[in-house]
Amino acid sequence: MYKRIAAINFGLLSPKVIKKMATVEITRYDLYDKDGYPVEGGVMDPRLGVVDPGLRCRVCGGGVGTCLGHFGYLELARPVIHVSHVKTIYKILRSTCEKCGRVLETPEELKKSDNPLYDLYVAKKTKCPHCGAKQRKIKLQKPYTFTIDDKPLTPLEIREWFERIPDEDLKLLNIKGGRPEWLIITLLPIPPVTVRPSITLETGERSEDDLTHKLVDIVRINQRLKDNISIGAPDFIIDDLWELLQYHVATYFDNNLSGVPQARHRSGRALRTLAQRLKGKEGRFRNNLSGKRVNFSSRTVISPDPMISINEVGVPEVVAKELTVPIKVNKRNISFLKSIIKKGPNAIDGANYVIRPDGRKKKITEENKNEIAEEIDIGYSVERHLKDGDIVVFNRQPSLHRMSMMAHKVRLTPWRTFTLNLCVCAPYNADFDGDEMNLHVPQTEEAQTEAKRLMLVENHIRSPRFGGPLIGCIQDHISGNYLLTKKETKIKKEDAIQILQNIGIEADVTRDLTGKELFSYLLPKDLNMEFKSNACIGCEKCDKEKCPYDYYVVIRNGELKNGVIDSKAIGREKGLIVDLIEKKYGSSKAREFLDRVSKLGINFLSRHGFTIGLSDVEVPAEAKRKIKKAVEESERECGILIKNYEKGEVKQIPGQTIKESLETHILKTLRKVLDKASDIIEENIKENCAVVMAKSGARGSMLNLTQLAGCIGQQTTQGERINRGYKMRTLPHFKRGELSPDAHGFVPSSFKDGLNPFEFFFNAMNGREGLMDKSLRTRKSGYMERRLVNALQDLKVEYDGTVRDDRGVIVQFTPGEDKIDPSKSEWGGINIDRIIEDEMGKGA
């Protein structure tokens, strides 16, 4: 049973406690004697803990690892201020009497606030209500010097002042966790050597930690101060030394104080003292506690491999020889493990370490491998190399959703990059322009099984975001299948046999096939579905299976009867066939289908040939003329609108000024040009590779092609025609106040024809806005996501179906109010029609 932490109390260490927890009083500033042994009473006193292996601690008897180290203390010759507490000290000075130490404000005045010490901003009272003493003016000179009526107020005086404050008055000021005089340091705790270990360089020289350097400085100055006080040196010398001691103690706590020169190493590097160890990205919290480095992981560049399964990841042999899986020796596997050990650490499928029953690790080398193979017995463990079929966790940052970390099966490769199937680029948001990914090896059978069951790629085909397939075919997969399943595609018997062989299907092909027949080999024999393809142009009345363009897909008993296969059938976020197979036959079958269909597409495409070029955006002169006519006509329309505006006859839109109405009318007119141009291009362009990609949804759109071949259209910033730039005009080449389309970002040229300088500039404005929007949006949504994850990370659906946090407090009685897991349902709901059809037969 675990224990619950009820509360954590923060407070100050009193000198008494500091002395009590210390084992040594530090009195000397030299570290080692002539023989190299640490000096007793020095900052490296052996009683402060052990860092050298083999030695035993004189205080607790522990060795390295068991002795956590022990504190010492240093008695300062004169007290100094703790820099991290100057604000508190200042506030206490301002709210208490300099003579009697009582709080100056009345209890009524203090009651106004929950935390009077921090909320009181009233000017200091000039007279004490308790003893009547006159109060002088206290000033804080950053970072740690106090003055009273412009004369220095020493830490010694402050300490005596604070000692006079009665405990009852501390309560009034809401001071908890200790006496205020403890804010002034008289005894400095010396941390154990275990937090500041020295390192021995190859040359045999010792190099001390930054903290040790700083502590030596403090002890040395303290000693000089003490000596000067005892010989009765003049005040100004003592004051100088005292000030120096204050500086060293302050920089020991924080070496980044404003207005204080940084304490530096001999080399000129600033010392890394206590505050620097904790603060910031490289500090203890963010670097070592919130996130840590792990073993059994690796990172390298990724590259594509269309021939491996989406469940697999290609791992270089050099990586597999470093990453290991521990295997417990038992009766059944002992001879196998012996054979692996005999292969040694350098062969692939070998082993690196054995772990003896007492937990000691022994490295396997070429020299001792046969010896170790004889030694192992039941109770030993062997850390063998990663091999084909092992389960690993694969990850790409930023890890924004659960599909950013999925389990894969290892497939060893002789190269130097991780390889992955192209279909899993989407969930990782990966491409191959130099992206790197991380790989982790689960070390226990439990972890391996859990990764396999819950994290395997095939279990994440359906996204929890929208309940559809996130993993699907992309680019060439879709182009290939589109061309393959077109009506006129025929495959020779020999080619069909070869393709089927390549994608791993055994079948007897006895004749030439149509593309649709070949595709049908991938479908389960009882699959039935109908849907409109992505290429469907949305005729007013759909002829369904008689669609003249063959854009209506019909699958009957696993036979593709009608329609072309495109992104609507197998693509990601749409993929209706993938979707149905996943639902009906399970994720394993869906994975198999995806593996095969993507290979089929690529295989066919490489036989067929596929390329794009400038000639793909060529349109007949007739079409160009039509577009030009459309542009001219809309420009004429705009001219009429502008004339009407000048006459004051614009049709005003409710809620808009006359000028705004004009802009709206013009924008509407000019937008129509692009639609018209798009229609003209679509009618006149012949079906080439670029069009195939646009129609099938593999890459690009009809709009992209229109802008390349026909007309770019109106450019906008913030949803309006371009209006910014110079006074009353966008560029100095136009007349002031000109309203014509040309002067406000209308681009009638196409990218193929080329842009004139004005058009180019307007297009660049439009493009720049898009870039800015994108980067701003990702930054904003990234932070929103982070906050959401931090708020919800401990919530969990329990086995009884309630959502609870880590204390077991119920957050929801039914998850999402409907108990539907979108990653296990169709598009976030239940398709009742399909269930009825499956159970009762079609037409029920």
Partner: protein, 80 residues
């Protein structure tokens, strides 16, 4: 003038106080202590209106866009 009641408002879902037996049954069904139930202040206008006391469990029947009706329970605690 007619007094205004928050429970009459269209956006305020149905709140009912559970009987002692119902409360015990609920806690037993979920295998939880009172501390693990979602909370509601006794100063909440609806709580005041239906007269629920500290320690009472309120059953809320909400209209849910995804589930039609959904049931939620909250225990009345003292407001700060």
């Amino acid at each position: 003038m007619k007094e205004f009641k928050v429970t009459d408002h269209i956006l305020v879902p149905k709140h009912e106080v559970l009987s002692k037996e119902e409360k015990i049954e609920l806690l037993k069904k979920l295998n939880i202590s009172e501390k693990q139930l979602p909370k509601i202040f006794d100063s909440d206008p609806v709580v005041k209106e239906i007269g629920a006391k500290i320690g009472n469990v309120i059953k809320i029947t909400r209209n849910s866009p995804v589930a039609g009706k959904s049931i939620y329970y909250r225990i009345v605690i003292k407001s700060e």
